[in-house]
Symmetry: C2
Subunit: 336 residues, 2 copies
């Protein structure tokens, strides 16, 4: 009998209370009178009682909805599609299913989607946050909904995030364009209020600054969201008296749009690799990241949180790779 672990029942008998009361005390429920709690604690110490955390975890798991929610900007963005596919794979491995919703980069729509998800008691959320503060998620978080960001940090919210070094990657790519003799370098991005685009824009400006090139507002286009908008922005830049000789497109959709009008002699770097990049003339130099690795890591972090990981929030930074295919290495007018 000495080898048998004491149970909650033993503690209750020792303290002269119900097992419910013991349960409340060991789970930190403040509804128990201090005197009773002290008696239970004494019994716990005397018997060497330990909570059965495995059984507890099983009960907890049983109460989970086993539904997670994924919020993307737009799943027709190939980067987001890869994120969705990888997140669903992890959810499936973990016995959960996945809701998907799109913000379309609209903070109001984002809030509505998230509210609809939390109303269905999702265990957790994987977010590619839209622009602006995400303080509005704090109540959901306080009520136990786990949140992990992927691709972007969420300003105003203290949660895990899995991202790449957008700033450093763009700074290096633009620095390379400068090295190849370019000084008039255009930039296309969505609003810098979206964390990722803010970082990419900062990287662009830092590279220019480091090279002693004054940024020309006519060459910096923010808030570009669709392929046709990107194409129009490029057409506009090329019509300038002093047009750019190089261009950085902030994501795949913008690159596709820009490439429909950009002439072949415009040096070009795109953020995100894409299927036909090597097949274009000239082949397209890209900053590649791995959306599957980002999303897989984010989803595993989320399930760790759902299953009780209470360590402080962390930011995981994954590598990028500049793939030099030719378009980013076209010489500019100041080439040595």
């Amino acid at each position: 009998m000495a080898a048998t672990r004491p149970t909650m029942k033993d503690v209750a008998a020792e303290a002269g209370v119900s097992t419910m009361t013991v349960s409340r005390v060991v789970n930190g429920d403040s509804a128990v009178a201090p005197r009773t709690a002290a008696r239970v604690e004494a019994a716990v110490r005397k018997l060497g009682y330990q909570r059965d955390d495995v059984a507890r975890q099983l009960r907890r798991t049983h109460q989970l909805s086993q539904i997670i929610g994924l919020l993307v900007d737009d799943v027709t963005d190939p980067f987001m599609a890869a994120v969705a596919s990888a997140a669903e794979d992890v959810a499936r491995q973990r016995g959960s299913i996945m809701l998907i919703g799109s913000s379309r980069a609209d903070p109001r729509r984002e809030r509505e989607v998230i509210a609809a998800f939390t109303a269905r008691r999702v265990d957790g959320l994987i977010l590619t946050p839209a622009a602006g503060s995400h303080r509005f998620l704090r109540p959901a978080q306080a009520q136990g909904t786990k949140i992990v960001c992927v691709d972007r940090a969420a300003p105003g919210l203290d949660v895990d995030a899995v991202v790449v070094d957008n700033f450093g990657a763009v700074r290096a790519a633009v620095a390379q364009l400068v090295t190849h003799g370019h000084r008039r370098i255009g930039y296309l991005g969505d609003t810098p209020k979206i964390w990722t685009f803010g970082e990419r824009r900062r990287g662009y400006l830092a590279a220019l600054r480091a090279a002693g090139i004054a940024a020309d507002p006519a060459l910096v286009r923010d808030g570009v969201r669709t392929g046709p908008e990107a194409a129009a922005a490029v057409t506009g830049m090329l019509a300038l008296p002093d047009p750019p000789t190089a261009l950085l497109a902030g994501n795949e959709l913008l690159a596709f749009g820009a490439l429909t009008t950009a002439p072949g002699d415009l040096a070009f770097v795109a953020f995100d690799d894409f299927a036909l990049a090597a097949r274009l003339t000239p082949p397209v130099t890209v900053i590649a990241q791995d959306p599957v690795a980002l999303a897989t890591s984010a989803a595993h972090l989320l399930f760790a949180r759902i299953h009780g990981d209470v360590s402080p929030p962390r930011t995981v930074v994954m590598p990028t790779r500049l793939i030099r295919r030719g378009s980013g290495e076209l010489p500019g007018p100041f080439a040595a």
Copy 2:
């Protein structure tokens, strides 16, 4: 007072029963004693009582989970991503949220995903069915889960489907390749057990037959699923003693793979339009369909079913368009 519609209360007073009993009788609940039911029915007739179907529908809507499930092959296929995005938009308009799951073309995984969805009591399913019979869905259907197929019919299941004329579209495209002087025409597709690929393959064979060309098994590659597999298949065909002079790729992913290795003088037609098709050398001729229109139509059909449309299942066929950009119009060795 004569103009006021009688209420359930009036019927209850007339029959000398509770409104609950009236409700049970008018809703066909068999738990009411026949004698009581007869008294209620007499009161209904006498007062000319009619059920308030609007209120009833509201109550019914209230019992819905307001969750639909979308099953795709793989959301990284741009066609499927467009389907997912459009279906979510309709779900949102209709006050529902959407689960997403991928079959990865694996019928077993498909069943598991659908079982997980129906266990969460989805109101309905939008499916791009994997290969094989879908009879297994009949019990879910009998229990009230509404099902609509998009892109593909589901053999063995009598449900609504929104598709294009895959057979006719491919037959016309291959007939055009023949007209331009090609007789050695390759075909790349996934398994013909997937309805869409079965139809496309049939269209290819029908065009060859109509032109008096014997199909060469070495030029017909089924079960090709990824870009790298498509690239390898093309490399294999081009190494034949009598290689093809033209090629039809059965979807966008296969086209991307094929285009990484296909030489520029190989006539080429792809099923599905894609962002950079016009930018390649030569520009790529495609069979375009409209995934947004297909999915929007399918989702609206699904919500009509969820909200009580019990008309016989229908198949909606949407148009395709052959966009001649150059690669499909390259002359072959038998050009006039």
